[in-house]
């Protein structure tokens, strides 16, 4: 009589992942971990500790300066520019097969995923290698050397804040997962489109840097600086006045969201990852229905699919924003709460570990597999012509056996739980600095607990539906 109870698994999760318990039980266990963490924080964490970074310089100044001085900065920048040029060249002149072309894996896996992972540990690694910043700064140096006066910069509209980066972040993900609907390939966008997009973005970025200044645009509008910089706030190292120093992990995040639009950036990050994870899983059926309805309006199949996916991507953004807004409104109901606007800004940084957790959970296996390709056949044959073997690794393939499906699942669950516990910790710490009464601070965090449990369960549901 076991058969009727094994048949339903054909549509469920357990059969494919071969887990010892149903996947939804992990969501229950993760929720319990969060609730226990919440009460432990309430009982033992009575004063804020993350409001101060405790930054201190590391190493001897002259030794550190060798790695952070202007010469070193120029070298890092030149490396960044050279790699961008190789990626664009490979995209324009290499094979049209996305998985054999250096450009896509380098831009959308090595950089897009690698920088957040590394920055979250070590701090802002992208900044020195940022090719557009390097070009902007080089242009400034060239103008000075030629004796040409620098053109006057426009005042950046402060209310615009990081909104250009938030919208740009959604646009980058849209380009990858909607415009270049993958069809089972790691990154499905065609390399030529990717290279053209990189050229267009380079022109746009350099123009904005010329208008508003290199550093100002990197701080607010340059998508990659803002996005990778957001994760670097969790990291151990940070620079101050050109000096490298150590700081308390997570502490830099507390001041990151002070610029308007920062909450939109972190929400866009969670939403875009959620959409990418659900496109072929949890939302697949619903997207197919919408494709049918849109198709009935007379649009072609590709346009229908892109429009439907775009609608769902926007809905994901709205959904994540709504959950956060509910948390904010809940906190506002606690006596002594500041304005809703201030709460929205004050707690936005607590979503950064969640955005990182979502990123690890959804892309960790892709990163491990694709980096094998990056450092073997894509490095030896970047154009994918089949005739080049620069480092003798052109024939090496990806070993998919390095990660079992169980390992991937456990890493996903661990990342989600750890990310949400860290988010809860940051939120509790911030609440203690807003509400001087620890009891009220704890009460305000009931709502953030609900937000964290909701994001955890949603993330695990997306993963289980995607895996199943």
């Amino acid at each position: 009589m076991n058969l009727p109870f094994t048949l339903p698994s054909a549509h469920a999760l357990v059969a494919r992942q071969d887990l010892p318990i149903p996947a939804w039980l992990f969501a229950w266990a993760a929720s319990i971990v969060l609730i226990v963490s919440f009460f432990a924080l309430s009982a033992a964490w009575r004063r804020p500790i993350f409001e101060e970074q405790h930054w201190r310089s590391i190493g001897r100044d002259d030794a550190v300066r060798a790695f952070t001085g202007s010469v070193a900065q120029a070298v890092y920048g030149a490396i960044g520019v050279a790699l961008l040029a190789v990626a664009i060249y490979a995209g324009l002149h290499g094979t049209e097969a996305p998985d054999r072309n250096f450009a896509l894996t380098f831009l959308f896996v090595t950089c897009w995923l690698g920088f957040p992972f590394l920055s979250a540990i070590f701090g802002d690694l992208f900044r020195p290698f940022n090719p557009w910043r390097a070009l902007g700064r080089a242009a400034g140096v060239a103008l000075s050397a030629a004796g040409v006066p620098h053109p006057r910069k426009l005042a950046y509209p402060e209310r615009l804040g990081r909104w250009p980066a938030a919208i740009g972040l959604l646009a980058v993900v849209w380009l990858e997962v909607v415009y270049g609907a993958s069809g089972g390939i790691a990154v499905g966008l065609d390399p030529h489109s990717c290279a053209v997009a990189a050229c267009v973005y380079s022109v746009y970025t350099l123009a904005m840097m010329a208008l508003f200044g290199v550093e100002k645009w990197c701080q607010t509008g340059e998508i990659f600086s803002v996005y990778f910089g957001m994760f670097s706030q969790l990291g151990l190292f940070g620079a101050r006045d050109g000096r490298l120093g150590r700081r308390r992990p997570l502490a830099a995040a507390t001041s990151w969201a002070a610029i308007p639009g920062s909450a939109a950036v972190v929400i866009a990050s969670i939403a875009s990852t959620s959409f990418d994870g659900s496109q072929e899983g949890a939302f697949k059926g619903a997207i197919e229905k919408v494709v049918g309805w849109v198709g009935d309006l007379g649009l072609g199949p590709t346009a229908s699919l892109r429009l439907s996916n775009t609608i769902f991507m926007v809905l994901c953004f709205a959904g994540v924003a709504l959950v956060y807004e509910l948390g904010v409104r809940g906190m506002q109901s606690v006596p002594g709460a500041p304005s809703r606007e201030r709460l929205r800004t004050a707690f936005a940084h607590t979503l950064i570990p969640i955005a990182l957790a979502y990123l690890i959970a959804h892309y960790f296996s892709l990163f491990v597999f694709q980096e094998q390709a990056q450092f073997t056949y894509l490095l030896s044959d970047p154009l994918g012509t089949g005739h080049t073997d620069l480092f003798g690794t052109a024939e090496v393939g990806i070993d998919f056996a390095v990660l079992s499906s169980q390992t991937i699942w456990y890493v996903q669950v661990a990342a989600l739980v750890a990310g949400h516990v860290l988010g809860l910790t940051l939120a509790h710490d911030r609440a203690l600095s807003i509400w001087s009464d620890p009891r009220r601070a704890t009460r305000s965090q009931y709502w953030m607990l609900a937000v964290m449990v909701a994001f955890t369960c949603f993330g695990l549901y997306l993963l289980s539906a995607g895996n199943g």
């Binding site: 939804w24 009460r443 369960c457 539906a465 199943g468």
Partner: protein, 57 residues
């Protein structure tokens, strides 16, 4: 009376679509937490009210 050969299909077919309802299991912890929040918030508000009534200004 359903023949034995049909019993399996009769039971299995509706259950085969159970996977479409698995999301419910993921919503339950969220609902429990929200329920707990509403309950404890009410209890705290009631206690505060009682404290205020017990200590008039």
């Amino acid at each position: 009376m359903i023949p034995a050969t049909q019993t399996l299909a009769a039971v299995a077919l509706p259950l085969a679509h159970l996977g479409h309802w698995l999301w419910v299991f993921y919503v339950i912890p969220v609902l429990i937490v929200i329920g707990g929040i509403i309950r404890s918030t009410r209890a705290e508000k009631k206690r505060e009210r009682e404290e205020d009534e017990g200590n008039p200004p």
